[in-house]
């Protein structure tokens, strides 16, 4: 029985990670209409930057903060560098451009860090019976707090209002003097930062390796589509569902088969309900 509950707890950790990554994805999609195929590499960057900072400073939470900020800056720089050139370009060109970024980033990380696993010991020791390591619980709480903070930021702050205004009607927002490019830069920073946070938090759990970004990105895309593109609440619930389903399935089948089952199940949801799950809640 304990193995089931600890797998459940693990599912919540995985689900939170997917949620953080997916929220960045859905944010940039909902506001800038970009399918960011390099998003998974931002997650990997977050983990690697944190690892580098940790090996210099030996303080985990400070290193994680450095990793998140560095990822946010590099991610936003990549997304905004060709922004003017690609103005008015459809989703296809953006998808291919970010795919190109993804190739370059993944290979660079492999060249710089090698293919081995970069380990970091969890900053919090100890386990809680039936639930697993203390660190995992702390990370889940931290992740959920970040998501809450994002929701509050979007709802209450001045920038949040501007972001929602642009998402709602870009031309009208520009007409009343909102600088779309500034807002887009902020959105890109937040989006890449969320992926970086997920990567930094998962570093002590999964360690860092070059293909980690690809794996999380597939799940993130699945939950973004199923949760309703651009829908934050939907993405959150779908993430937790996907994380739990995947963790529980690994009790019965191999991890790859678990991924296949989750992928196919979520695609069947799309076939049955075109708008995903969003109107169910």
């Amino acid at each position: 029985m304990e193995i089931v509950t600890s797998q459940l707890a693990n599912g919540v950790v995985v689900g939170t990670t997917i949620a953080l990554t997916a929220l960045g994805l859905t944010l940039i999609f909902g506001i800038m209409h970009i399918v960011n195929l390099a998003h998974g590499e931002f997650y990997a960057l977050g983990a690697y930057f944190t690892w580098v900072a940790y090996s210099l400073l030996n303080k985990f939470w400070v290193s994680a903060a450095i990793g998140i900020v560095a990822t946010a800056i590099i991610g936003a720089a990549l997304l905004m560098i060709f922004y003017d050139k690609l103005k008015g370009a459809g989703p296809l060109r953006w998808a291919l451009l970010t795919l190109g970024f993804g190739y370059v980033l993944r290979e660079l990380m492999q060249l710089v860090f090698g293919t081995d696993f970069k380990l970091v010991a969890p900053p919090l020791e100890g386990t809680i019976p039936w639930a697993g390591g203390v660190y995992r619980i702390a990370v889940t709480v931290a992740g959920l707090l970040l998501i809450l903070a994002l929701a509050l930021f979007l709802k209450k702050s001045r920038y949040g209002v501007l972001i929602r205004a642009i998402a709602n009607n870009r031309d009208a927002a520009a007409l009343v003097g909102v600088s779309t490019k500034t807002i887009y830069t902020w959105v890109a920073l937040i989006s890449a930062g969320l992926a970086g946070a997920a990567g930094a938090f998962m570093l002590p759990v999964t360690s860092a390796y070059p293909t980690m970004g690809l794996e999380i990105m597939i799940m993130a895309f699945v939950v973004v589509v199923v949760g309703g593109m651009g829908n934050i609440q939907g993405a959150l619930i779908a993430s937790l569902l996907a994380g739990l389903a995947q963790s529980l399935l690994t009790l019965i089948v191999e991890p790859t088969v678990a991924t296949i089952i989750v992928l196919v199940a979520f695609m069947l949801v799309l076939v049955v309900r075109r708008e995903g799950l969003q109107k169910l809640w």
Binding site: A95, E107, L270
Partner: protein, 312 residues
């Protein structure tokens, strides 16, 4: 340039070029040319979806790889070629039906993501179902009864004739009223619907046509290369094919075919460099940012600006 290319004299040049190749090229290069023709055929099938109908499929490798695997699995099980080909046709139509249905369920960006995820799912299945596909080790088809058992020239001839015939068929299709309707769906689907056309039905049909052509390419590849790996259904090949089409210029049929050949040649040249995915990624970025309408249209643009300067 594009108009000129679609004129009949360019067809004649292409035909002469294709028939001279086996006379002048040594065996190794002729084999390479045969492979390039197969990839060109694959690119053509994607252009029908992406270029003409505006369906940005990021999972097109599924249509290529599944029939290829079907042929490989049936041949390896010891059945004759004709059975393998029949199974491949069934497999191609089934995948076309399923993804065609998906195409009618999702639009635009959703279509990009869903097809990409589908390609990834099929890749994972091909990779982990070791008993059927050989998994990580790949699937090897024995030589007898495949194109490899023929002379290089004969294999080239079979591939070249199939490619040429399918190209002519596709050219006829896109120039017919049906082809005009496809472009109409791409440019303004709402208007096409308002005029009374069932656009979902047409999207569904063209997906199946495209799947069949990609399937022919996949089967030819299986019979020529005789070694299949999960990459043939995966997202990497799927997305690369989109770049081939873009590189050659969408909605031109011949452009994507040249784009495929050019890209594969560049890739083979870079393959020896250790970090070649970096160059691949940079190539993606360059094409998307600076040559979004294809290299074929680049000379046209240059010629226009040249003429403008001279008449001034």
């Amino acid at each position: 340039m594009v108009n000129a290319l679609s004129k009949s004299w360019s067809l004649a040049i292409s035909a002469v070029f294709l028939s001279v190749l086996p006379l002048v090229l040594p065996d190794y290069y002729l084999y390479l040319a045969t492979e390039l023709l197969i990839w060109a055929l694959f690119a053509l099938s994607l252009d029908l979806l992406l270029g003409y109908t505006g369906l940005p499929s990021f999972g097109h490798a599924i249509f290529f790889g599944i029939p290829a695997y079907a042929v490989g699995i049936i041949l390896t099980a010891g059945y004759p070629l004709i059975v393998a080909l029949l199974v491949a046709v069934v497999a191609a139509s089934l995948t076309g039906l399923i993804l065609g249905y998906l195409a009618t369920r999702t639009g635009g960006i959703g279509y990009i993501i869903v097809t990409l995820l589908a390609s990834f799912a099929v890749f994972l299945i091909a990779f982990s179902w070791t008993n059927l596909t050989g998994g990580e080790n790949g699937l090897y088809i024995s030589r007898a009864g495949t194109l490899a058992a023929l002379s290089t020239q004969a294999a080239y001839a079979i591939v070249a004739v199939s490619t040429a015939l399918i190209f002519l068929g596709a050219r006829w299709l896109v120039r017919s009223n049906y082809g005009l309707l496809l472009v109409g769906i791409k440019t303004n689907e709402t208007r096409a619907q308002a005029m009374g056309y069932n656009t979902q039905l047409y999207k569904f049909q063209i997906t199946i046509v495209s799947a069949m052509i990609a399937g022919v390419a996949g089967v030819l590849y299986a019979l020529l290369a005789r070694s299949l790996s999960a990459e043939l259904v995966g997202p990497e090949l799927s997305t690369e094919a989109v770049i081939w089409v873009l590189l050659g210029g969408t909605q031109t049929l011949l452009g994507p075919m040249l784009g495929a050949a050019l890209f594969i040649l560049i890739k083979q040249a870079l393959n020896t460099i250790r970090a070649y995915p970096i160059f691949l990624g940079l190539l993606f970025i360059v094409v998307v940012v600076w040559a979004p309408s294809g290299l074929l249209k680049l000379p046209k643009g240059l010629w226009k600006s040249f003429r403008r300067r001279n008449t001034r």
